[in-house]
């Protein structure tokens, strides 16, 4: 479990996170949602240790990354996989090399074992034929799949996804959502997804956290979110015309 306690972060005069407390549930898809500027990305990057919070603690199964020696923190990092918004694949390396990189650094596997593990991961995300291609030769959706394969290659305990559906068409978004959810359940990972896509919230939001102005204003599940009476949730969820129609339809039933 990842526990976030009293998380604060400011940039100059701008207070981006204001004392967030949350336990991110193991074996489930935890979604951080909110409007642009609500602090989602800063919260995700703080949890990852890419941004140093001003105050607060983040515990990975009771272990505090900030208080560890560099070598111990590195070991915890090997338990993390991350899918970046733009995929962040290494453009000068082939897909196979991209996925193999964590294995090259952190395992003593033989070349044949690494090849087999990479093949398995690429097959798991259904992109095995692209092993020898380069990132620039792939579509956005395929790049996301490669990023997922790279994130799971070391069998991580924690999977983080920053806007996994950004720039993807609705159909590919559903495929990526389903893939993340399947992998989360299959490997029992703690998955943390930063998104503002309501489709994702409704499809895979087993534990949803709504941020507004840097504060946690609501916490619940995808089943509860449509019926929540919290004004901030109503305002966020039923902002689009489509969702307004859904609400009208629901209230008419």
């Amino acid at each position: 479990m990842i526990s976030v306690r009293n998380l604060h972060k400011s940039f100059g005069d701008q207070h981006v996170l204001r004392g967030i407390d949350v336990d991110l549930k193991p074996g489930k898809c935890n979604l951080i949602i909110g409007l642009s500027g609500s602090g989602k990305t800063v919260m995700l990057k703080s949890i990852l240790g890419l941004i140093q919070p001003d105050e607060g603690t983040i515990l990975y199964d009771g272990r505090n990354l900030r208080e560890m020696e560099h070598s111990d923190a590195r070991k915890v990092r090997q338990e993390m996989g991350m899918v970046f918004q733009g995929s962040a694949l290494f453009t000068s390396q082939s897909i196979e090399e991209n996925v193999r990189l964590p294995l090259d650094f952190f395992t003593s596997m033989s070349a044949a074992e690494k090849k087999e593990r990479v093949r398995f991961c690429l097959e798991r995300v259904r992109i095995e034929n692209a092993a020898h291609k380069y990132p620039a030769e792939l579509s956005g959706g395929m790049q996301k799949r490669v990023a997922i394969a790279r994130a799971i290659v070391l069998n991580p305990k924690y999977l983080f996804c920053d806007e996994p559906n950004s720039g993807l068409d609705p159909e590919t978004s559903l495929v990526i959502d389903a893939l993340i959810q399947d992998i989360t359940h299959e490997y029992g990972m703690t998955t943390v997804i930063n998104t503002h896509d309501m489709n994702s919230v409704l499809e895979i939001g087993e534990h949803v956290l709504l941020l507004k102005g840097g504060e946690k204003v609501w916490e619940g599940t995808n089943d509860e979110i449509l019926e929540a009476e919290n004004p901030a949730v109503v305002d966020y969820v039923f902002r689009s015309n489509l969702m307004k129609r859904v609400r009208t339809a629901l209230s008419g039933q």
Binding site: L48, G49, L50, H70, A73, R74, K75, R77, Q78, M80, M82, F84, Q85, G86, A88, L89, F90, T91, L101, P102, D104, F105, F106, F160
Partner: protein, 248 residues
């Protein structure tokens, strides 16, 4: 202005400490090193040779024009060309050119990696991005720089020889005599040392600017320009300091 300079100098020092942290796995760093030797060293070699050939030719023509006195032996032209090429043109001018070519390449590629979150991806994996991306570049540049220097010296002297012979400024015999006369091998060691110091700056300064880019492609371009200017200034400053310390 002074405060900012020292703040930047401090940030550069902290960055170097991060770069020289113990590698997670030597084998991966070694692979990156050979890739960088090819990209930053071997691929720039033809350009360095071409530049040096013409540089040597121009130095010969200009020296010959300034020594048009029947009392001065023609082989003095070759001596002047040799001293200019070995002491200054090969290490300093070639380094200044490399600062533009290699420096903008390094700064641009690292800046692009930063804005596309590739550096963050390495960090999340538990890899020290500064070490993995920059240390091989510094080592490749520093260790390959003597090779570039020797080719540059040879290119410059061949260029001078050909220009002298082709334009009838001095005979091949006079040129070769001038090259050998009162030759001091120490000048080669001095130049190699100078070039090695410059090579360190050519790799590390642009890496520093590229590594900490914030923003988008425009900022990457801006960082590349700043990186080249800072590298050139560092080379010029240290050229003065080293010349003063070693040759005085």
């Amino acid at each position: 202005m002074i405060y900012r300079f020292f703040a930047e100098l401090g940030a550069y020092w902290i960055f170097l400490r991060q770069v020289f942290r113990r590698p997670e796995r030597f084998a991966e760093y070694r692979k990156a090193f050979w890739r960088d030797v090819d990209a930053l060293g071997v691929k720039t070699l033809p350009l360095v040779v071409i530049i040096s050939l013409f540089m040597g030719a121009v130095v010969t023509i200009q020296t010959a024009l300034n020594l048009e006195d029947p009392l001065i032996p023609r082989y003095y032209i070759a001596i002047a060309v040799r001293e200019s090429i070995l002491l200054e043109f090969a290490p300093t001018i070639v380094s200044l050119i490399l600062a533009g070519i290699v420096g903008s390449n390094i700064s641009g590629s690292l800046g692009n990696m930063r804005i596309t979150e590739q550096i963050d991806a390495l960090e999340v994996m538990g890899i020290n991005p500064a070490g993995f991306l920059v240390l091989p570049k510094i080592l490749a540049n520093v260790l390959f720089s003597p090779v570039l220097l020797i080719f540059s010296m040879a290119g410059g002297l061949v260029g001078g020889y050909l220009a002298g012979w082709w334009l009838g400024l001095l005979s091949p015999g006079e040129f070769l005599l001038g090259l050998r006369l009162e030759f001091q091998p120490f000048y080669i060691a001095y130049s190699v040392f100078k070039m090695t110091v410059f090579a360190f700056f050519i790799a590390s300064v642009p890496s520093f600017f590229g590594y900490r880019v914030k923003g988008g492609p425009l900022e990457v371009g801006h960082a590349s320009t700043q990186a080249v200017i800072a590298t050139i200034l560092a080379i010029i400053l240290f050229n003065y300091i080293l010349t003063n310390l070693i040759l005085q």
